[in-house]
């Protein structure tokens, strides 16, 4: 493999990996903040227990998100220095602003939250986690604006003398139409993951550790019921918002990146109306299709909003781009875009379905007079248990496929219409990049094992009895150890 391929693999591996932790962080911080606020307002102990329980899972996850994020900021310069020179005037600002506005907020106020239980007044303590939550949204906004600019560059002009892109309107970059739909889509998808995680852990406890007659286990069961309900509702609402924003995103994408939409369906010839295939057996190169289930007019609807709209085909766009940008291939790797697009949608919908079933079961068991558990036995119990275990993984996988689709679907462009990926890579030696791919992959793999091990340990541990936090007025008390 050459430097370009190795650098692409490294970016892909590190970014997909980083984005396993990001959606959990974004969604879970809000849910934990909600639990703490519910405790403050109601005084009900169950919310304090849930705050601390899910807070631990949040922190285990957050640490990984932070440290893998440093790699993201460094590797633009390390591996993509030609790109960094070319776009730094526009692309650097959102990254710098993200650090200044968001990373400082997140890291500082999360530190206060972790260590401040006994040192801050309760409302101030809860405010710390809310500020952290706002920090995660700010961070997402700036980095997605930077990414959206690569999908659909706006607010710039090309300076031929310096051979670089120069900023003309920062407001345009921040209100890029692509960004305005990408942000809600990404955030909603993050809430799907976090809601699913909260629900899944709670369901696991309800199924595996049914509440006994004693008060402690009844209160634990009731708390997990609340968590399961909050998690499942979050997943469902987020799924609806993800679908709506994704639908709008499809239309924006068709407008600015028609090749990506055509590649999503492996649609080679401009069609009116265009059908959407659920899956295809056989080759996706347009030559021989063995079998496919097609929903007539659906691609037209996704792309244009009308079931009879015209959708441009790959071959047509390829010919058109060759005219505009010169000879070369402008077609992404079709099997990758085709399958990642379907899996994103299908796997995400499956998660929503499980959340819906879980909600229905929770309601049924409450109506049957079991407010601290689920009335399930035998095969149904096992089925729900496995569904619960799959529940958080499904939207997480859907998130990954979404990113793989949107980034691979932009190829061969690094910045659409402006710079090809091959032109953006650093003049490193292949050996250096190979070393970093291997080292980072091994390190990430090892850390994944450790992280999942810890998550499982603390998820299985269940709720602990919590004392109310100490009084911050106790000035003479020395600081305690938290880590």
């Amino acid at each position: 493999m050459n430097v370009l391929e190795l650098s692409r693999w490294q970016f892909g591996i590190t970014t997909v990996y980083h984005f396993l932790f990001v959606p959990i962080t974004i969604g879970l911080v809000f849910l934990v903040a909600g639990f703490e606020t519910a405790w403050l307002r109601s005084g009900d102990d169950r919310w304090l227990k849930l705050t601390k329980f899910y807070g631990k899972l949040f922190l285990i996850n957050f640490a990984m998100g932070v440290v893998t994020g440093i790699v993201q900021e460094f590797q633009f310069g390390m591996n993509w220095s030609a790109y960094s020179r070319f776009v730094g005037d526009i692309f650097g600002a959102p990254l710098a602003i993200e650090a200044l506005l968001a990373f400082f907020l997140e890291s500082t106020f999360l530190g206060l939250w972790i260590f401040g239980w006994d040192r801050l007044p309760r409302k101030v303590h809860a405010a710390c986690i809310w500020i952290t939550a706002v920090g995660t949204l700010l961070s997402a906004y700036f980095i997605l604006a930077a990414n959206s600019w690569m999908q659909h560059p706006v607010g710039y002009h090309y300076n031929a003398a310096t051979h670089r892109e120069e900023l003309t309107s920062f407001v345009s970059v921040m209100t890029n139409p692509t960004q305005l739909v990408t942000f809600p889509h990404t955030i909603a998808a993050a809430f799907m993951v976090a809601g699913a995680l909260v629900a899944a852990v709670a369901l696991w406890h309800l199924i595996r550790r049914p509440a006994g007659p004693d008060a402690v286990s009844q209160s634990s069961g009731a708390a997990f019921r609340s968590a399961a309900k909050v998690g499942a509702i979050t997943t469902l609402v987020a799924a609806v918002l993800t679908a709506i924003s994704g639908d709008i995103q499809g239309k924006i994408m068709t407008k600015y990146q028609p090749m990506k939409m055509a590649a999503a369906e492996a649609l080679y010839h401009t069609s009116k109306p265009a059908s959407f295939s659920l899956f295809t057996i056989g080759s996706l190169n347009g030559s021989k299709e063995v079998f496919a289930i097609k929903l007539p007019g659906l691609l037209s609807f996704l792309a244009t909003g009308s079931f009879s709209g015209q959708v441009q085909g790959i071959d047509n766009i390829q010919a058109q781009y060759s005219q505009i940008y010169g000879p070369g291939s402008y077609t992404p790797i079709i099997p990758v875009t085709y399958w990642s697009f379907r899996l994103m949608i299908g796997v995400g919908m499956l998660a929503a379905l499980i959340a819906l079933i879980a909600l229905w079961l929770l309601r049924r068991s409450r109506l049957q007079g079991n407010p601290a558990g689920l009335n399930l036995t035998g095969g149904k119990r096992r089925a729900l248990l496995w569904s619960a275990i799959a529940l958080p993984l499904l939207p997480l996988i859907a998130n990954s496929f979404g990113w793989i689709f949107t980034e691979m679907g932009r190829q061969p462009w690094l910045v659409f219409g402006q710079m090809k990926t091959a032109a953006g890579v650093s003049a490193n030696s292949a050996g250096e990049v190979l070393a970093s791919v291997i080292i980072l992959t091994l390190l990430y793999g090892g850390l994944a094992v450790i992280e999942v091990g810890l998550l499982l340990k603390y998820a299985k541990a269940g709720l602990a009895e919590e004392r109310p936090p100490g009084s911050p007025s106790d000035e003479d008390k020395p600081l305690e150890l938290v880590y």
């Binding site: 932070v66 440093i70 030609a82 650097g92 650090a99 040192r119 003049a427 490193n428 810890l454 541990a461």
Partner: protein
């Protein structure tokens, strides 16, 4: 007349100086972990002195990196790709170190904790050394061609001047870590940290004086008299405050000593940047290939935008980060040592849940920090 690009050169110097002061002492704490922390519980106390703040300290690096990308894309691109392997090493260190802080206490096993303690030590030591080597090379010059691409290899970065730079940052950060621990711990740990500060301080003075003298003698930009004079002044202030800080520590003035060494780190960073100006990354191949404030910067529009945003938000960052240090201003005692207030320990909750919860429930400490062992006392040693 200051151009916007000059202002951003200063801003990036300030960000690096802030990073070196803040993460400098938390690197120092990590480096001193196996030296001062004789037991697992002592090491835990040491880690908790920086617990609430290390992540915020590290954001100074991300901001410095992001600001370099935004204000000087040419500098960011050339420097980060040239220092590819050293930066990879720094990344690996920062990754394992950050995870180590968070995960160390999350399993009750000596092997587990010792493993993470080692990660914190190595993950602090290597970057503390490499940042000095990297900045030494920025001033010394690296093989950059006309396209500002690096043509050397890893070993091109190992020259005596840069290595002395590495020793200097390592010594300064370790010294500041020791002084910070003198301020943040009690009893025996505090005494040992202060005693160690004196020894490290003597080494830091020798290395720092040598590195700064070498910088002023050989690495100031020729023909830039004004900034050259400022650089000498910065170096002089750095020398005076460093020596004053080490002496102050010897005299038991912990607060002054820490503040003085922090000033020494800031002014030493200032001396390096003013010696470098107007270059930002020197080419050892030809002065014509050197990146400067002029040829590496963004457009005036981007710089103006960044200036406005920095002026609005940086004061807030300083305020709330300062507030964190105020909230956690208390010293940390090793559980069981004489100064630690006896803690009421609530009955443990059933099952493994009890251990889990306490990680987020400060208040009950000693008996289950290191379960299965008697709480160590400092007096017993």
């Amino acid at each position: 007349m200051l151009h916007l690009s000059d202002i951003w050169f200063i801003a990036i110097a300030v960000l690096w100086a802030g990073y070196f002061v803040l993460e400098g002492f938390d690197f120092g704490v990590g480096i001193l972990l196996p030296v001062l922390g004789r037991t697992s519980t002592e090491r835990r106390a040491l880690i908790n002195t920086i617990g609430p703040v290390w992540d915020g300290n590290e954001v100074w690096l991300l901001t410095a990196g992001g600001a370099t990308f935004a204000a000087f894309p040419g500098w960011y691109a050339a420097m980060f790709s040239a220092f590819y392997l050293p930066l990879l090493l720094v990344l690996v260190c920062l990754i394992v170190r950050g995870v180590a802080f968070e995960y160390r206490g999350k399993r009750d096993s000596d092997r587990w904790r010792l493993g993470w303690d080692t990660a914190i030590f190595g993950g602090s030591l290597i970057p503390a050394l490499l940042w000095g080597v990297a900045f030494g090379n920025v001033l010394h010059g690296i093989p950059l061609n006309a396209a500002h691409n690096y043509t050397g290899n890893f070993f091109s970065l190992l020259n005596p001047y840069s290595l002395l730079g590495g020793v200097t940052t390592l010594a300064l950060f370790t010294l500041n870590g020791a002084l910070f621990l003198g301020l943040k711990t009690t009893d025996d740990l505090r005494r040992r940290a202060n005693a160690l500060a004196w020894k490290i301080g003597l080494g830091a003075i020798v290395a720092g004086a040598g590195f700064l003298a070498w910088t002023e003698a050989s690495y100031r930009s020729p023909g830039h008299v004004a900034t050259g004079v400022v650089s000498v002044l910065f170096a002089a202030v750095a020398a005076v405050t460093l020596i004053g800080g080490v002496l102050g520590s010897r005299l038991g003035r912990e607060g002054y000593a820490f503040a003085a060494v922090a000033v020494a780190i800031v002014t030493a960073t200032g001396a390096l940047f003013t010696a470098l100006f107007p270059d930002v990354l020197r080419s050892s191949v030809s002065p014509a290939f050197t990146l400067t404030v002029g040829n590496a910067s963004s457009t005036a529009k981007t710089l103006a935008l960044m200036t406005v945003i920095a002026c609005i938000f940086l004061p807030f960052v300083l305020l709330y980060q300062g507030w964190t240090y105020w909230v956690f201003r208390k010293r940390i005692s090793v559980p069981g040592s004489s100064a630690a207030a006896p803690q009421e320990v609530p009955p443990a909750a059933s099952g493994p849940a009890g251990g889990a919860a306490r990680l987020l429930a400060p208040g009950d400490v000693a008996p289950h920090t290191e379960p299965g062992k008697p709480a160590p006392t400092t007096a017993a040693r």
